[in-house]
């Protein structure tokens, strides 16, 4: 048995949450310090693990740990990362770290940034959420995957409802929770069906996904259950037409939660749909890939178009997330090498990019008290770091070479072209629209003259904020310039998927 690095990474936030809850609520800075320490520790631990995987030239599932949890039903706590999940764990670490920085909370009455109200509960819930997310990415056991998946869902309700935007938070939080819960339980039924069918086929009771891959499900079974399982998870991935909860949720959530939500949680949906839907039911995936591709292509263009007409900065980013997650789904639906590779990198790239977008939007909103694009302007002079961050995010979003977005989107379009060139042509409309709304918004928000209303009371961002922006930008640029630190790794994961798909 190896050193249990993955369980430490997964349960560390949970432990931190318990410790935080034990601190008296008045000692806000103690709470914040504990949170930041735990988050940095977790990020560093996984960064080290990630480098080991990468530099060791490893393949397949690594750092595997297994503890029998309920042998009578074949439930075990089995952790491991492969080329697809490792970047996502890294992403979670990054978003958690920067999320804590963003929420640090400036108690200055004029700024009122971050979280001032009950930071103890805020960080505790956020860390429980993070634990759930880590758990899903590293679980190799289907039962445990659901266990962590639900843990990742319910704190969202509290985080949005309590600390969110007063106007829509109750509505948005409940909508989000119900959508996600519906999706996850629909998948759960499918998972139970797989479990019993595998038992009938092989005589072994096991939730172990590596076992279930070999269970030999009949084609009819796969065709029946693929859609419920895939779509159930894909709801969290924001797939059209079940994306409706997502922009509402983004807008209502406090900054760090928006970052988590768009940056990590939507990846959770896409990842689980890929891991459980495509990898366990490959025949079903082939049967239904046309439908997924249609939905995804619509999401890509429709999301971009709706983002284009938004006047609320957060809604704009919310819909652009729908569009970009559509690209992930599009990549998955190709079921070929290029598409899957692009989807894998896009999950990471979009996660960092959208976290950055939401972080900057949150900084602007905290200071200008408005997110309406027509009311904003001149931010580049006041908060240069934030504006540079936003511009870099914008370039990634447009898929500019030299940034991570290009490394991700180019293979996706290649893959789609190889599958169905018409869809590729249709989906590429989104690139133009994306460029249009990113450019116009950057001009308006950052480079137009500062409106009179905002003069005087809008200040620069804090050191914590700057650290977060720089961290996020760093990863987008590094991956754009040196794709070798991520692409070979994702490749190994993709090869594994292709093996299950029978070399399709």
């Amino acid at each position: 048995m190896n050193f249990p690095i993955l369980s430490i990474i997964t349960f560390l936030p949970m432990l931190a949450a318990v410790v935080i809850l034990a601190v008296p609520s008045a000692r806000k800075n103690v709470v914040r310090t504990i949170a930041l320490t735990a988050a940095s520790l977790d990020l560093l631990l996984f960064a080290w693990t990630y480098l080991q995987y990468l530099l060791g030239g490893l393949q397949g599932y690594q750092f595997v740990e297994q503890y029998n949890w309920l042998p009578a039903l074949g439930i075990s706590l089995k952790f491991g990362v492969d080329g697809i999940s490792a970047p996502l764990v890294l992403l979670t670490g990054i978003v958690m770290f920067t999320g804590v920085l963003i929420s640090w909370g400036d108690d200055d009455k004029h700024v009122m940034a971050g979280i001032q109200d009950r930071p103890r509960e805020f960080f505790a819930f956020l860390f429980i959420l993070a634990s759930g997310v880590f758990g899903v990415f590293v679980s190799l056991d289907l039962f445990m995957l659901f266990f962590f998946y639900e843990i990742a869902v319910f704190p969202m309700y509290l985080l949005i409802a309590i600390w969110g935007w007063v106007v829509t938070r109750e509505y948005a939080a409940m909508k989000l929770t119900l959508y996600l819960f519906v999706g996850s339980v629909v998948s759960l039924v499918g998972a139970l069906a797989m479990y019993w069918t595998a038992y009938q086929n092989t005589g072994v009771l096991s939730f172990d996904m590596l076992q279930l891959e070999k269970a030999g499900f009949s084609t009819a079974f796969q065709n029946l259950w693929f859609l419920p399982v895939f779509m159930g998870f894909a709801v969290l991935g924001g797939i059209w037409p079940f994306h409706n909860w997502s922009p509402d949720g983004h807008v209502a959530a406090p900054t760090a939660v928006s970052m988590f939500h768009a940056g990590v949680l939507m990846k959770l949906g896409a990842f689980a749909a890929l891991r459980v839907g495509v990898m366990l039911l490959p025949e079903g995936a082939k049967e239904w890939s046309w439908l997924i591709m249609t939905f995804a292509a619509i999401a890509v263009v429709y999301g971009a178009y709706i983002a284009f007409v938004q006047t609320d900065l957060k809604y704009m980013i919310g819909f652009s997330s729908v569009s970009h997650m559509g690209l992930v789904m599009l990549g998955v639906s190709t079921l070929n090498y290029n598409g899957l590779l692009g989807a894998g990198v896009q999950m990471f790239s979009h996660g960092v990019m959208t976290a950055l977008f939401f972080a900057v939007t949150g900084m602007i909103y905290d200071r200008a008290h408005t997110r309406m694009i027509p009311e904003l302007g001149g931010m580049s002079k006041i908060m240069p770091y934030a504006s540079i961050g936003f511009i870099i995010g914008g370039l990634v979003s447009m898929g500019m070479p030299g940034f991570s977005g290009f490394v991700a989107e180019f293979p996706i379009f290649m893959g789609v072209w190889g599958r169905q060139w018409l869809v590729a042509v249709f989906a590429s409309i989104s690139i133009v629209i994306t460029a249009a709304y990113i450019m116009t918004n950057i001009r308006k928000v950052f480079f137009s003259p500062l409106p009179e209303k905002l003069e005087g009371h809008v200040g620069d961002i804090t050191l914590m904020d700057k650290t977060a922006v720089v961290t996020l930008c760093f990863f987008m640029i590094v991956i754009g310039l040196i794709p070798a630190i991520m692409v070979p790794m994702v490749e190994t994961g993709v090869e594994n998927i292709l093996r299950l798909l029978g070399g399709a």
């Binding site: 309920l70 039903l73 659901f146 843990i151 109750e170 409940m174 339980v185 759960l188 139970l192 069906a193």
Partner: protein
């Protein structure tokens, strides 16, 4: 006749009886203002009884003792431990109740009812079964109406009595018909006669309907649920908690023993099938009605009453599945549910003790007034909603898994739709606790102190809810061992 085995079989009951005697003797000598400490005595005594039973009262291979009246097996034993735990916690919650807490007889009634429940879970004979059901019920009628100065409590007691007596009379009629045709009241003999084809099947189906009325009342299954909301609302809160957990679990312990052993229709799959279908429909209706009616509730006790009806429906999925995993999941679910719902009622009790209020709106700002209590309430409600890492999640997955295994996927889907409704109203309640504020936004001036007995009882329960939800292997092992005795 009195072999050591027989003593072991009724050891928990002997201990409960001794504890009751002790209370009877001690209580009059205590001053009136100290009499609430009988609650500590009861709770500590019951915890001691649990420990002693665990060491000396463990069953071996299932046997019938005392002339076939009692079945000494793991199923009964597991339920007994659960009931005793529930009664101990209820005693702790009861002791600070304003009108009931210092009355020694309340604890005595609780113990008497507990005795009845213990015997219900081990009865192997219809006569014994009926007697134990009545022993469990009659003290509860009194307890529900214990606050004589309160109209609602009197109404609750009376309503519970009337409905209860009616239901148990119908069940008794069913039992008498069985005796008339079969000539025996022994559950295990009945099972043999039935599978040998010695009983007219039409009769069996009729009798099952009659028995189901009595048990359906106990577990508050639709359409025999009407009493539950009013009785829960009117009774002293800890009594309502006890009614909704231990009493319901006792009903299920009888239900699984009767339906898995005596009326299992072994070798007659078509009859077993149509019988399971009847239960499946009842389960679906129970879940749906419970959850839909819980949606508009403003009083937390009524909300919990309807939610407990819905949970009876979920448990029934495990019964319908009619296999070993189903039986194990029923036992597991009941254990998780018992802890969770006791916690929920305990929180309502602690809150209403401090503030004298119990509607949902009164919970506004609670997380600022007492963050610890709010966290415990979060644990309880998320567990009820079926979210990890709390007991409710695992329990639900097991029940659903059992349902899918026996091909009742449609019922599982109904269950899932219902849990979504559940999530809505449980989270809605949490919104009051965490989001809304007191009218003056001055929560600091209205702290919510918790008494020692509450911290102790609620702490144990919260820990239990989390343990069942995370380290579920031992619990499932025990449930499985208990379920094994049914096959």
């Amino acid at each position: 006749m009195f072999t050591p085995e027989v003593f072991a079989a009724i050891l928990p009951e002997i201990l409960i009886l001794a504890l009751g005697m002790l209370i009877l003797i001690v209580e009059p000598f205590w001053k009136a203002e100290k009499r609430r400490n009988v609650g500590w005595l009861t709770a500590v005594g019951l915890f001691a009884a649990i420990l002693v039973s665990l060491f000396y009262g463990q069953p071996g291979d299932p046997v019938s003792v005392l002339g076939g009246m009692i079945r000494f097996d793991w199923l009964g034993f597991f339920f007994k431990i659960l009931f005793m735990f529930a009664a101990a916690v209820t005693a702790l919650l009861l002791m600070n109740h304003e009108t009931v807490g210092q009355r020694g007889e309340a604890y005595l009634l609780l113990l008497a009812s507990l005795m009845g429940m213990n015997l219900m879970s081990v009865s192997a004979d219809l006569v014994m079964l009926y007697l134990s059901i009545e022993t469990a019920s009659i003290p509860l009628y009194v307890l529900a109406g214990f606050m004589v100065a309160d109209k609602r409590s009197t109404e609750a007691g009376f309503k519970y009595l009337l409905f209860g007596v009616l239901a148990s009379t119908i069940m008794l009629y069913g039992f008498s018909l069985v005796f008339g045709f079969a000539g025996t009241t022994d559950i295990y003999m009945l099972a043999e006669m039935l599978s040998a084809g010695d009983l007219p099947l039409m009769l069996v189906f009729g009798v099952l309907g009659l028995i189901l009325v009595g048990l359906g009342f106990k577990v508050s299954m639709v359409p025999f649920h009407f009493w539950a909301p009013d009785v829960y609302e009117g009774s002293p809160i800890p009594v309502a908690g006890f009614l909704s957990t231990a009493s319901k679990a006792a009903g299920f312990s009888v239900l699984v023993r009767l339906f898995f052993v005596a009326f299992a229709f072994e070798g007659m799959p078509e009859y077993a099938h149509s019988w399971a279908w009847t239960l499946a429909v009842l389960s679906a209706v129970t879940m749906t009605v419970g959850n839909l009616l819980a949606l508009p509730q403003k009083n937390l006790k009524r909300l919990l009453a309807f939610s407990s009806i819905a949970h009876a429906g979920y448990v029934l999925i495990g019964v319908v599945a009619f296999n070993q995993l189903g039986a194990a999941s029923v036992v597991f679910y009941l254990a998780a549910y018992l802890l969770t719902n006791l916690l929920a009622f305990g929180i309502v009790m602690a809150f209403s003790h401090a503030t004298g209020m119990e509607t949902l709106e009164d919970f506004a700002g609670m997380s600022r007034r007492n963050p610890l209590l709010a966290l415990m309430m979060l644990a309880a409600f998320l567990s009820l909603a079926g979210m990890p890492p709390f007991g409710g999640f695992v329990a639900k997955v097991f029940v659903f898994a059992a349902g899918v295994q026996s091909g009742y996927t449609w019922l599982v889907v109904v269950g899932i739709i219902n849990s979504i409704i559940g999530v809505y109203y449980y989270l809605n309640a949490m919104k009051f606790v965490y989001l809304y504020r007191l009218p003056g936004e001055d929560e600091e001036k209205h702290p919510l102190p918790l008494l020692k007995s509450y911290v102790f009882a609620l702490g144990i329960l919260t820990l239990g809810v989390i343990l069942v939800g995370t380290v579920f292997a031992p619990w499932f092992g025990w449930s499985d061992a208990a379920a094994l005795n049914l096959f």
